[in-house]
Every structure is written in C-alpha cells, then in structure tokens.
C-alpha cells in the first residue's frame, strides 16, 4: 500500500465523475496543443514556402498585398497586370543577382470545380527555384511546348513527348502544345502548375506585353533594404505602379494577420482552462467532503496534515495529468480536422501545413496540466488536511 495506490483507487471510485473531469481538462489541453502546434506549423510552412520561392523581393502590381501573397504562393488568377517594360527597370537596378518575370492565369475546368493554373516563365525561373528537376524530358524544346508539374502530369496521364491541349470555351481557342518535360515531385505549388514559355503564354491567353509578377534574388541579402529603396525610387521615376516588397516583410504581414485570430483563440483556450480547472477543483472538493470521515480516521491513526495534503494533491495531479494525456491524444486525433477547418477560415495557409507533435508543445501541455493540478488541488488539499478527526469520526454512520 502507498499513497499513489490509494489516490488512484479514490479517483476510480466515481469513474463517470472522474472521466468527465479529466475530459474537461483534456479539451482545454487539446486546444492549447493545437494552438501551439498551429503557430509552429504555420510559421514553419510559410517560411519554407517563401524560401522555396528562391527570391528575396517580390514585385507585383498595386493591389491588396495579402491577395498578392496568396497568388504568389499558390498560383491563381490575378486581375491586375503590369507592363513588360517594368522588368527592364528592375533588371537595371544594382545589387540584383537574378530576376525572373512571370505571367499567370487559370483555366476553369469541370464547370468551375477545378482550376488549372498556367505560368508563363522565362529561362531565369529555374535558377530561382531550389528544386527544379526533371523527372523526364527537359526545358521547352520550342515555342509550342510545356513543362508539367508532377501531379498535373499524373492527372493528365502524359509524359515528356506527349501533348496537351489548352482551351477555355469562349476565351481561349484550343491550342496543342508538346510536353517538353515533367518535373519531379516537390511538394510545393509547382506540382500543380503547367509552365509555358512566357511569350507563348501571353499569346495564347491574350495577355501580350503583360506580367503578373517579378521575383528578385539579391547578391547580398543584407542589402535588401537598399535594393528595395532603389527599386521603389526607380518605379516612382518611371511612374510605374509597382508594389515592391521584401519577402521578410511579407512573412511579417502574414503572421501579423494571424495574431488577432491567435489572441481570440488564446482567450477561448483560457476560458477552457478556467472551466476545466474549476471542474477539477469542485470534483476534488466534493470527494474530500464525501470522504471526511475516512480522512478523519486516517488522521486519528496518525497520518499527519502533510500526509493528507499530499494524498489529495496527488489525486488532483493524477486527474489533471490524465487530462493532459487525454488532451494530447485528442489533439493528435483531431489535428487533420482542425487544419481542414483552418484552411477554410484563414486568408492564407501554407501548402504543406500540418499540425505536428513537437517536444516543446508536449512539454508545455504536460507542464500546464501539472501546474493546473497544483493550483486546483491546493484548496481542497488544505481543506482535507484541516479536517478534525473527532468531528469527522463522530458525525453520521457508515
């Protein structure tokens, strides 16, 4: 016999009540776990997405920068275009190691259910991508050629040497192009894109002389501020409506966009913890009242105040630690659902964004459950320790 065994048996004495209490803590812990993992996963996903882009500065036409960011990162239809000449302004700026211009458009298929995104690129594009490798074939063989991302190639069932038809009823007449290459799987947005030579794309889509974005890679990253300033003044001089922003800034913009949501979720988590904690407190307090006579008898038999305090504290700790474990399991089970939900409500979510299980999150969640037990257990434990053995033994019968 030891305190642990007695504490566990006491918890199991009222299984339903204990399960409900543990569940209350579990829900709060699961929410905390998801929140922490979300924050971590989101920032990590965003960072890797931005570094995949291989660029330091992004130039888009004037407009809402969030919208621009989403389109840059995921591809899509962009309602504003910039003049091809702007690219010359950018290229003429000092401190730039490489740059590429991009035109993008989407063809809606299956009555709007699916979007196939086309990207018109120049020969500089692959040099900015970290993972530009061919699974088969090679760079555009001629003007009427295409390079397919791995998942597009798979869904279309074509390989290098085959051909695809670009068409949208009423806008783009059917055009056949040869598949020059198929890319290796990258787990980035490239997997879902069809790449065309820039001029071919402009012709097919009727976007002659237009661009959607320019990506700039710097020779020296520490010069980001200076180059950005130089680009901005060049743009102003030429009266070009370029929206120039460094990607480090973009990361900040996107994460700050999240912080208001995060405060809100944190408030809900706090409320969940208060509810869970009060649940633990009342359950343990109730158990102490129910067992007044038992505890009084223990004291009569020589158990010290500190012994009784420890017993009740242990019971509380076991309850909240149980809640912590249950909460982590719940979080792991619900992670996918939470991500799916977040993708529908957040303005932008990174492509490979998932809730993982990091050591720090585990440690925080277990630490919080222990602290919760220590806090919620103190008052009931103190009450139990102060039970007077004579009054306890005298009252009622059992």
């Amino acid at each position: 016999m030891n305190w642990t065994a007695i504490a566990l048996k006491n918890i199991l004495r009222r299984p339903i009540r204990s399960i409900l209490t543990v569940a209350g803590v579990g829900v709060a812990i699961a929410m905390l776990f998801n929140l922490l993992e979300f924050q971590r996963g989101y920032e990590k996903g965003l960072r890797s997405e931005l570094s995949d882009l291989g660029a330091h500065i992004m130039i888009v036409p004037r407009g809402c920068p969030y919208e621009a960011a989403t389109i840059v990162l995921h591809g899509g239809k962009w309602p504003r275009y910039m003049d091809e000449e702007w690219y010359q302004i950018v290229r003429g700026t000092e401190g730039i190691e490489a740059s590429t211009a991009i035109i993008m458009d989407a063809i809606i298929r299956d009555g709007g259910r699916e979007n196939l995104i086309y990207m018109g690129i120049d020969e500089n594009y692959p040099s900015l991508r970290q993972s530009w490798r061919y699974a088969s074939g090679d760079w555009f063989s001629g003007t009427q050629a295409a390079i397919l991302g791995s998942s597009v190639a798979r869904s279309m069932g074509v390989t290098a040497g085959g051909s695809i038809t670009i068409e949208e009823k009423g806008r783009i007449p059917a055009t056949e192009v040869t598949v020059a290459g198929v890319l290796e799987r990258t787990n980035s947005q490239d997997d879902g894109l069809v790449f065309l030579p820039q001029h071919t794309m402009q012709q097919i889509f009727g976007l002659q002389g237009k661009l959607v974005m320019i990506l700039v890679k710097l020779a020296d990253v520490t010069q980001t501020e200076q180059v950005t300033a130089a680009l901005r003044s060049a743009s102003a001089e030429a009266d070009a409506g370029m929206n120039i922003f460094p990607l480090s800034e973009l990361l900040g913009t996107l994460t700050s966009l999240l912080s208001s949501t995060r405060v809100f979720v944190l408030a809900i988590v706090a409320v969940a913890f208060i509810i869970g904690g009060v649940g633990v407190l009342t359950t343990i307090l109730m158990a102490v009242y129910e067992r007044t006579r038992e505890i009084g008898m223990m004291k009569a038999m020589g158990a010290a105040k500190s012994d009784i305090f420890r017993l009740i504290w242990l019971e509380t700790l076991f309850t909240t630690i149980g809640g912590g474990v249950a909460g982590i399991l719940l979080a792991l089970l619900s992670g996918r659902g939470v991500v799916a939900l977040l993708k529908t409500i957040l303005p932008h979510t990174p492509a490979d964004f998932a809730l993982g299980m990091s050591g720090s999150t585990l440690a925080i969640c277990m630490g919080v459950s222990v602290v919760l037990g220590v806090v919620a257990g103190t008052w009931p434990a103190w009450r139990a320790a102060s039970i007077s053995p004579i009054t306890a033994i005298r009252g009622g019968s059992s």
């Binding site: 016999m1 030891n2 038992e294 038999m301 020589g302 158990a303 019968s397 059992s398």
Partner: protein
C-alpha cells in the same frame, strides 16, 4: 481462532515507554469543558486514573457521561481544558501546556490504536489493504504482518474481501487488525461492540481479552454493565466524574 501470532513485538516496545511510575497512562484532574456559543458544557470535570501496561480498563457510563471525551483526550485527538495527562511517556498536557500536534501524531502513529462503533474502513480497499493503511505514513511495509494479524483476529479466509463483502463483526475484526498493525501499547476502543449482536460482541470482547493477556493495554468505553465485569479494572463515569463504589 488462530493463536499462532503473539504480539510480543509491541510488548518490548511498550516497556520503554512506560512512565516513571510504571504507568502507560496517567491522568490527574483531567477536565474538558466544551463551549457552545456562550454556554459552557463540562463534559469531564477533573478525573484521575491510570492505566498500566497490559491492563484491560473498562470505562463504564451512561450516554453523555464523558466516555468518548476521555478517549479523545487520551488519544490526543482533543486537548484537555485542565489537569495533566501523560500517555506512553509523552506529556500530552500539563495544565495549560500542551504537546505539539506533530508529537501527538507520532504518539498515535507509534503507540496507540483506535476502534470505534463504526468501522471506518476504506471501501475501495480489501481487508488486507485496509490493515496496511497505517503503514503508509509509518513508512513501512508489512504485508506479512497484516496477513498474520488478520489471521489472528480470525479473518485469514477473508483477506481479499472488500468491506461491503464483510459482515459487521468481520469489519470490526479488520478495524481491530488495522489498529494493531503498528504494534501499539494501548488500544482505545469506543463502544466497538455497539453495532454488533450479542454473540459477535462476545467474540470481539473475547479477542480483546486475549490481546490484553498478551500485553496490550486497552481502554474500553461502554454503557454495557455485562461487559464491565470482564475487564481488569472498571472506571465508572457519571456526568463527567469518576464514581467509586
């Protein structure tokens, strides 16, 4: 009834704690007045008594006489309002000077055992586990001793039964074994047979008699005159004072 186990251990322990004059318990002018609101209720008004090692003392008196009050004082569960009391070598009270709570805990833990009319067993634990409970705070393990004690009180065949699977008499035997697990010198028994039928009462009393013969001192409170004759000494308590006949 198994007679194999003798409580020789506590006998040795007991010898050292006997007070100078050879008494395990010594009370002089012991009194306890309860205050309820402004009213003072003198439950015990200056009683003198002593208990020797191995002595079976029956504390006899009608309801309200102050029996429980006396046992609580001797057991260090309550503090007297007057008089002096020493138990097992520990000065529990001397006038207005009282022993510290930690000393009283230690006294109960090491030298005293309790049984009451109610059994106060932990419902989730087996008979054997219940007997071992006081060992937790004594930081000892004594499964064998617990088992031997249960055999000694005649419950060797009920070790794994939980309280709700035992009869009243059996539960009181478990409570008795639990009271003896730390090898006390003195057993404080507050009407332990009050909730039992006559046969069971006699069995339990007989068991206590045997234990006393083996060296355990017992202070047995009852209003049952029939039992009084079977102890070594009778203390007749009436309205908070000891009456001598």
């Amino acid at each position: 009834m198994a007679r194999g186990v003798h409580l020789t251990d506590h006998r040795n322990k007991g010898w050292f704690i006997v007070t100078r004059n050879g008494q395990l318990v010594h009370a002089t002018g012991l009194s306890r007045t309860y205050t309820v609101g402004r009213r003072e209720i003198p439950a015990l008004r200056g009683v003198d008594f002593s208990i020797n090692r191995g002595e079976f003392v029956v504390l006899l008196g009608p309801s309200g006489a102050g029996k429980t009050t006396t046992l609580n004082l001797v057991g260090g569960l309550d503090r007297p309002t007057g008089g002096s009391l020493s138990v097992a070598g520990e000065v529990v009270a001397d006038g207005s000077v009282h022993a510290k709570e930690s000393r009283l805990n230690a006294l109960r833990r090491e030298h005293l055992g309790f049984v009451f009319a109610e059994f106060h067993l932990l419902p989730t634990l087996s008979a054997l586990e219940n007997v071992q409970v006081p060992l937790i705070w004594a930081d000892e393990s004594g499964r064998d001793r617990a088992e031997a004690l249960l055999c000694r009180v005649g419950l060797g065949h009920r070790l794994t039964h939980r309280p709700d699977e035992l009869s009243g008499g059996e539960m009181q035997r478990v409570a008795l074994a639990r009271a003896l697990i730390n090898q006390p010198a003195l057993l404080l028994a507050d009407e332990p047979t009050a909730n039992l039928d006559t046969n069971t009462r006699d069995e339990i009393f007989g068991l206590l008699r045997e234990l006393s013969d083996e060296g355990l001192a017992i202070l047995f409170a009852t209003h049952d005159h029939e039992l009084a004759e079977r102890g070594d000494t009778v203390l007749r308590l009436s309205d908070g004072v000891i009456v001598h006949d």
